[in-house]
């Protein structure tokens, strides 16, 4: 940051309060702090502003951090004073942390962390607090409020109702977000600690969500600070619409997901026409993965897991009354990136010309059984060029349409031009 900019800002701030500060003095003090003492610019600005305010007997500017700021305007590296309500408390990940959670005001919400070293007073779920001189930094791509030993925490006698503003899914950023969304797809929990996972959608797009099982007896806080909320979290119901307040938006490998453990969610009326964000990729199909072709699925309502050859479902054990399905797990590769694609029955049928009934008949009469279908599918698609469009989740594209690429003489002509040789 340019020091003259800062000078300008400080002097203007003081001028609005009727003081006549000397700009050269401001700049030289800033200079001294920044250049000689290696103080960061924000801190230098704060110090110089406070000093001058005192010298000119001005109040209300002082250090920038006592100016009350709305949460949604805070960016990393700001020193801030905010007033907000504790809307979530989560178990700290390390003993050096006293509390973690989410603090919200009417403008927005932000994750916070309180360091144990300053021995800060525990904040209570649902209460309003004024936090002076907290600092914001970035943690996992999201702004995070650090409450350190220099932060003043004071509880407020306030219980203003707080209505979080809803963010369209397509506009979510890492941090904290509130959405109104429909639960459109439930996925198998890929981890013991997962209570539920799947897909939420609104008009603008879709996002993966996770509800983790809560630690211990189902409370989501530590000891006395445990929030007065119901023990454990409820599962969402498929196809229902929810107002979800203060979910944690995480980013992993460039993809966002929502963790609902910090959130409050209430079923809402009405329906949502979910907008799908489709991407299109082209390339050669370079690999057909095991588990492609004809598969057996668990018949238990809502399960649908793939059974082993011995009809074993990892959850519901032996299921002789399985149902057959066709699918293709493959890799589409454009020479620059290799991407996993997953195609459902209708697509596989269209691509291979083998209908499910036919596949079942072949498998039941052929000595190779289901392998025969795998080989037939593989031999039809391997090495061929396709255009696939669909939506990408968890590093895999769920393909909604797949068409073979056809030879285009125009493409040949334009490449010949690019290669630029004399006509042979």
């Amino acid at each position: 940051m340019n020091l003259s900019e800062v000078t300008e800002r400080i002097s203007r701030k003081l001028e609005t309060k009727g003081a006549q500060p000397d700009r050269q003095k401001i700049e030289s003090r800033l200079h001294r702090l920044v250049e000689e003492f290696g103080v960061n610019v924000n801190e230098a600005e704060r110090t110089v502003t406070a000093d001058l305010a005192r010298e000119h007997n001005v109040t209300g500017v002082g250090n920038t951090s006592t100016e009350l700021r709305p949460i949604n305007e805070i960016v990393p590296n700001d020193w801030v004073t905010i007033e907000g309500k504790i809307v979530a408390l989560t178990p700290p990940l390390s003993p050096s942390i006293a509390q973690t959670g989410i603090i919200a005001d009417s403008s927005g919400a932000m994750r916070f962390v309180t360091w144990a070293r300053g021995n800060p007073p525990a904040m209570e779920y649902g209460q309003w607090y004024r936090l002076e001189s907290a600092v914001v930094d970035e943690y996992k791509g999201a702004p995070n409020l650090k409450i350190h030993s220099g932060t003043t925490i004071s509880q407020m006698e306030k219980d203003a109702p707080l209505l979080p503003s809803i963010t369209p899914i397509a506009e979510l950023k890492p941090g904290v977000g509130s959405v109104r969304a429909k639960f459109i797809q439930e996925w198998d929990a890929s981890h013991d600690r997962m209570l539920q996972t799947g897909l939420l959608g609104d008009e603008t797009g879709t996002i993966k969500f996770v509800i983790w099982k809560e630690e211990g007896a189902g409370s989501s806080g530590t000891g006395q600070a445990a929030p007065k909320e119901p023990l454990g979290k409820d599962k969402l119901e498929l196809d229902a619409v929810y107002n979800i307040f203060y979910a944690t938006v995480d980013e992993y490998n460039g993809r966002l997901s929502l963790a609902l453990n910090t959130a409050m969610y209430i079923a809402d009326e009405g329906d949502i026409e979910v907008g799908r964000t489709e991407t299109e990729i082209q390339g050669a199909l370079v690999h057909v993965a095991p588990g492609s072709g004809l598969i057996k699925r668990c018949p238990v309502e809502g399960c649908n897991r793939t059974l082993s050859r011995q009809n074993y479902c990892p959850v519901h054990e032996i299921q002789p009354e399985f149902r057959y399905d066709l699918r293709l797990k493959a890799v589409l590769d454009d020479g620059i990136r290799a991407r996993n694609v997953l195609m459902q029955r209708e697509i596989v049928e269209a691509l291979t010309g083998i209908a499910l009934e036919e596949a079942i008949e072949i498998a039941e009469t052929n000595p190779l059984g289901m392998d025969e279908i795998f080989y037939r599918v593989r031999n039809t698609v391997l090495g061929r060029y396709y255009t696939c469009s669909g939506s990408e989740f968890g590093g895999r594209m769920l393909v909604n349409s797949c068409t073979p690429i056809v030879f285009s003489p125009e493409e040949l002509a334009s490449l010949l031009n690019r290669a630029g040789g004399e006509p042979a």
Partner: protein, 188 residues
């Protein structure tokens, strides 16, 4: 580079036979035993997997104890030598079933060998092979032409292409000519 802790499959590079034949430089990315081995292609990109489509012109079974199959796959610019051994039983059996001549698509790993008389040979260890049609072959020639031209146009600006310049003294115009000749053989 790649994000940590996630596995990203190596893309299969598109390369013409006459370029692969010139490949001499191989390196390991990392010190681990399982670190991937790459070759640097003369057009200036690292590769540990390639995708080729051409005509399988010949195939033979070799070895007594350790059976393997060797084959020749021709593209408009030259010949690829492919190989599938008992470490890749699926690939070997796929190759065993194909009767030349046939258009084939091959996904495999490029390997460098030095023969007893000191010559350097590049062969492709097959991961998958399937019979395809002429249109797929033509699409591959266009695809490979496009990607080769992309690499040549970026030549000198990437680390891999600087390495290629050092190892091979690549003349981009020469490879452009190869691309042009390959495209000329595709029938409109």
């Amino acid at each position: 580079m790649k994000p940590q802790g996630t596995f990203e499959r190596e893309p299969a590079r598109r390369v013409f036979a006459s370029e692969l034949r010139e490949t001499r430089y191989q390196f390991k990315d990392g010190d681990d035993e399982k670190s991937p081995t790459y070759v640097i292609l003369p057009s200036g990109i690292r590769s540990n997997r390639i995708f080729i489509v051409g005509t399988l012109t010949e195939k033979e079974r070799r070895g007594d104890q350790n059976i393997f199959y060797r084959g020749r796959v021709a593209d408009p610019t030259g010949t690829f030598f492919i190989m599938a051994g008992s470490y890749q039983p699926e690939a070997m059996q796929q190759l065993a079933r194909i009767e030349p001549p046939a258009f084939v698509a091959v996904v495999g790993k490029p390997n460098l060998y030095t023969t007893q008389d000191g010559n350097c040979l590049v062969s492709v260890r097959v991961e998958s092979i399937a019979v395809v049609d002429r249109e797929t072959r033509d699409l591959w020639v266009l695809d490979t032409a496009r990607e080769t031209l992309d690499r040549l146009e970026a030549f000198g600006t990437t680390d891999d292409s600087k390495k290629a310049q050092e190892e091979y003294g690549t003349q981009p115009d020469l490879y452009k000519k190869i691309v042009y000749d390959a495209l000329s053989q595709v029938q409109l």
